[in-house]
Symmetry: C2
Subunit: 239 residues, 2 copies
DNA sequence: GTCATTAGTGTCAAAGTTACACTTAGCAGT
DNA sequence: ACTGCTAAGTGTAACTTTGACACTAATGAC
């Protein structure tokens, strides 16, 4: 920070705007979905965009990201995984003025979503909200396609090395559901036996005594053991 | 970016300042060193700080980081590894005004350094420059201790999974020097045989026909094969 | 009962990791 | 010129992880 710069009277310089954008992922219908909002105003009106907003003067960045998340999905802080992604600041990425955006990505369990569809906030710049397939999104405003791509790459990395995938599922889930979530995000088939034995060794989940109906033999429901996260974070969890 | 926020007339809001800070690492005397500057002015005058400066209105973030790097070390873009680290933006991290800083980290080969000591820039906020042990830095200004810690963590990660360690060494190096660089950064002893066989399999280096004197048998000098980087980046290089 | 379907476990070969011992090449002292 | 020291550089064998695949178990439909 401002250490070796020319001596600086802060008030006399033009300053960029700073926003946070939050790439919100969930899994619906066995697909990785991202939440997008439709722009109402110039520029890029009518196009879809990653939700975001200006950082208030007395608000931390993460705080702002949580606020956006709450405004968009009514999901509270405890129920999501939120992580800073990257900061995008090319001059010219927004035609109005210099805007630097700190992008976050969030994982929300489908069960946590009281879908915002129809329940749009009042004083909004958005003309609509919806979940879109993350791999085949509509044409996006500004440089948001780049941000989304970056978020997907990071999500895949995270999933391979940490236990963060649980955040995409309801609190209790079958191992098949978990495996499908991983397969969806990684776009890759995993071996059932190997997936399960690795999970067992990691100690990341514990069995509940409930079962879920399926087409065949009922599947045991599992729960994520959050006290195990710390360990797991360090070693690779899945192939 | 600014999508769902209240309708927004940019001119009427107060805006934060945005800076870039660059954590510059090198290896000197078998130690991981970080470049720090001594602050001349309030606040935190007399304390050491990570070099940084304000982002100009028409300048990209990475561009600004390269500029800082050049100003501080006279090292050009080709000779360094530079990567965005994290954005720190707690209100109150700078007592003067709201400052959001985009932190970068840089790896510079010791041979590239025309040391800035004595050759300080003129119109500077800094009263001194120096290389410090990254693990036992002096008391740092603002939240720079946190930034440094974060940078070290990231550097270690990077080193384990990519071939980025070469950036810390001169163009030609012995395998022992390379191993020592890794050991220094990871703070961990590595096995000579395993280190070498892994390197051989990876194809990351090629032998030159020069040798370097040592206490015993002379050591072959190697060169980094930059055409191999692309592949290596994806798989884990060292234990 | 049989069949279809999905849950869940076990095995084994191939690949990778780790610890450690060995050979090689230069230098210095006698 | 031999001996011993130092550091370069290679090899091997036990162990662990991985990946492919086959097998058994529990339920509903017929």
């Amino acid at each position: 920070m401002a250490v070796t710069a020319r001596t600086y009277d802060a008030s006399q310089y033009e300053r960029p705007s700073v926003t946070v954008d939050v790439v919100i992922f969930t899994i619906l219908d066995s697909e990785l979905k991202v939440l997008l909002v439709k722009r109402k105003n110039w520029p890029c009106e009518g196009m879809w965009a990653i939700p975001g907003g200006f950082v208030d003067m007395n608000e931390g960045l993460e705080e702002a990201a949580y606020r956006e998340l709450r405004e968009e999905t009514s999901v509270s802080g405890q129920d999501v995984y939120l992580e800073q992604l990257y900061t995008f600041g090319n001059p010219g990425r927004d035609p109005r003025t210099r805007v630097i955006t700190v992008a976050y990505f969030a994982l929300v369990g489908a069960d946590k979503l009281h879908l915002p569809e129809g329940g749009l906030r009042a004083a909004s710049d958005a003309a609509g909200v919806g979940w879109f397939s993350a791999y085949t999104p509509p044409l996006l405003a500004f440089d948001h396609a780049e941000i989304l791509e970056y978020a997907i790459t990071r999500l895949r990395y995270k999933l391979e090395y940490t236990a963060v995938g649980f955040q995409l599922l309801p609190e209790r889930f079958t191992l098949r559901e978990l495996q499908e979530a991983y397969e969806t995000v990684l776009s890759e088939k995993l071996d059932k036996g190997n997936f399960r034995s690795k999970l067992r060794k990691s100690g990341a989940v514990e069995a509940t005594d409930a079962y879920q109906e399926t087409g065949g033999r009922p599947a045991r429901l599992y729960r994520f053991r959050d006290d195990a996260v710390a360990e797991i974070k360090t070693r690779r969890l899945f192939p």
